[in-house]
């Protein structure tokens, strides 16, 4: 096709947008910054790890273009690729803070987390989201989803946070790919061989009709460049992750007795009457809630027995000046895809509502209330209606709320007595800058279940398990996670289910220590600065950050 943008590779895409002669690539193919995690798994690496960082001008404006190569490993984000994006966005933030305006443009052609570097991908993506939130105070952060891969996984959560999203009709946007939903929830939930259904649901035409993208343009370089120039001029912001009341009102009206179809949803979307939603504090109930590690610890830490809430899966309460938040399972939940404690539509929006309220209440206070996340999330919800409505926006809303709270000065502390998996963890946990976990081998911490990860990366489960031996980020247990250096503390000698008064006192002491040690830190840099991170866990990240800093 003549003048097609979609058919270009990542580097050509960046170049095609920039005014001639203004481009400067940073940490490019000649800098030898390849992923150290692929060759040990017998995967061919790429010299730029699939990310092109280019500074230059568009129509005379200073811009940073971050272009993801969808053709290399599906545009997946690993340690090096993620660190390149984070480092460049943070330099752009620094420039903007110093009065030197530079507009970040992210070209998303990505499957999300690179499953071969799973936990690095999750960490990096949360760091990207954090940088985007910080940047949006100064400039719009512009997103472009040209397609073929489109935007999936954790990077769709990022897409929901961006100021303005431009797409072509060759792109799809979703959280979970249809193959993963089929793998996790069965073919009746989502038939991944039904291409029409997939495109009608996840294609950008439908996404435009329901507010998940802002503009769909025909695939030419000129069209796309014009749209970007126009956005730089007008600085529109979709505020996509700030429509919490809208979505909670919409969910109230959802008929969960039958399968949602596109036409019904589009009608519903247009007819929503927005009402204010406040999620009240959990109170003691008469009936025991569905058992989970998260619930056990929430009840002990807050002293609320059989805690219940109008949103049965989102528990929060204030205790001793701290706000505790937990997402818990409810075996009788009307939403079938979150009955095991997964983070779904209602969970994401409700948590965002809770956190936004805490931030608003403490707005004028000198000392902001600490927010303690009790993390026990087995995954995000895998479901058709979740994708149709836009579960990535739900998860983006809570991730954005936590990031804003931290950036406003609230200590945001994780206590991880249970699972911390994938989109669930991005929405509820990864925006924390001090993570405290129990050293219990029942805890799973990962980007995708083994069955799905094996299917997507076209390996057997045995091969996948072999890979985890060489690459700690691929593993599913907390001891390997510790090797990445992201944890503040791994607590030995307390089991996941042992939420006793004595143990709660111990954990509270560690939490208080973490809060005291913050010294005003509102960033996520702690993860790079622990002895383990420096020694091994984030070595490549630190090298990338140094290179970007030198070449900026």
């Amino acid at each position: 096709m003549k003048n097609s943008f979609v058919e270009l590779h990542a580097r050509e895409r960046a170049l095609s947008l920039l005014d001639a002669g203004t481009s400067k690539e940073m940490v490019g193919p000649l800098d030898d910054m390849i992923s150290p995690h692929l060759e040990p798994q017998n995967i061919v690496p790429e010299s730029d790890d699939g990310i092109v960082l280019m500074k230059g001008k568009i129509d005379g404006n200073n811009v940073l273009v971050v272009s993801i190569e969808g053709k290399f490993q599906g545009g997946g984000i690993g340690e090096v690729s993620g660190a390149k994006i984070v480092a460049a966005l943070e330099k752009a933030l620094e420039d903007n803070k110093n009065g030197k305006t530079i507009y970040p443009i992210i070209i998303l052609d990505t499957g999300g987390v690179r499953l071969q570097e799973a936990n690095y991908g999750l960490l990096s993506i949360s760091e990207i989201q954090n940088a985007v939130i910080a940047l949006k105070k100064y400039v719009p952060v512009i997103g472009l989803v040209p397609g073929r891969v489109g935007s999936f996984g954790g990077m769709s959560i990022t897409a929901s946070i961006l100021s303005y999203l431009i797409a072509t009709n060759k792109a799809r946007i979703a959280l979970n790919g249809p193959e993963v939903i089929e793998q996790e929830a069965g073919v009746r939930e989502f038939d991944s061989s039904d291409k029409d259904l997939i495109w009608n649901t996840l294609g950008t035409k439908q996404r435009l009709a329901t507010g998940l993208v802002d503009e769909v343009v025909d695939d030419t370089v000129d069209n796309i460049k014009n749209s970007i120039v126009n956005e730089i001029k007008t600085k529109k912001d979709a505020h996509r992750t700030e429509n919490v009341d809208f979505y909670l009102s919409l969910l109230d009206k959802l008929d969960l007795s039958k399968k949602l179809d596109i036409e019904t949803y589009n009608k519903l979307y247009k007819s929503v009457e927005v009402t204010k939603h406040d999620i009240p504090e959990a109170v003691a109930g008469s009936k025991e809630g569905t058992k989970s590690r998260g619930r056990a610890w929430f009840e002990k830490m807050t002293g609320i027995k059989n805690a219940t809430s109008p949103v049965s899966t989102v528990l929060h309460a204030q205790k001793d000046g701290k706000e505790y938040v937990a997402i818990v399972p409810d075996a009788d939940n009307d939403f079938p895809r979150v009955r095991n404690g997964e983070v779904g539509l209602q969970e994401g929006f409700a948590v965002a509502s809770v956190i936004n309220k805490v931030v608003a209440e403490d707005k004028d206070k000198d000392v902001k209330r600490p927010i303690i996340l009790i993390v026990d999330v087995p995954s995000q919800a895998y479901g058709y209606q979740e994708e149709l409505i836009g579960i990535h926006v739900a998860l983006g809303s809570s991730a954005a709320a936590y990031a804003k709270a931290r950036q406003a000065g609230h200590p945001v502390i994780d206590f991880i007595p249970g699972d911390a998996v994938s989109g669930g963890f991005l929405a509820h946990g990864l925006q924390s800058n001090r993570m405290i976990a129990l050293d219990d081998d029942s805890i799973t911490i990962q980007a995708m279940s083994k069955a799905s990860a094996a299917r997507i990366t076209q390996r057997t489960i045995a091969e996948l398990e072999e890979a985890t031996k060489h690459v700690p980020a691929m593993a599913y247990d907390i001891d390997n996670y510790e090797k990445l250096g992201a944890l503040y503390k791994l607590v030995k000698g307390i089991g996941s289910w042992e939420a006793t008064d004595e143990n709660v006192a111990k954990i509270n002491q560690i939490i208080d220590g973490a809060i005291d040690g913050l010294n005003g830190d509102r960033t996520l840099h702690f993860r790079y600065e622990t002895p383990i991170a420096k020694e091994s866990g984030r070595k490549a990240t630190l090298k990338v950050r140094k290179l970007v800093d030198e070449q900026w």
Binding site: H9, A10, P29, L30, E39, V44, E46, S47, K71, F72
Partner: protein
Amino acid sequence: MEKLHFNFDTTDAIAKPVHVGVVASGDLEVIFRPTDKKTEVNIVTGSDGFKEVWANVLKRFFDRYPIQANIEINDFGSTPGVVNLRLTQALEELKDEK
């Protein structure tokens, strides 16, 4: 995945490093770097068992263009034709004065 290594006795020095290509399915990336040592080619390929084919493709290339360079190739299952195309494309980049 297989790693391959080749040496050639070529002596036409190149002036600057260049990079072309993408590690996409059926494609490869090629990096030429100037060197004053022996010409070296280091390949990481996703398709195992094609050492002889690589040797032939490279021999033909260096017979025609005896450049002295340190060459890195990351390959994701490209055919000999595509390999040759990327190598000559890198040569074109060398001539490019931009």
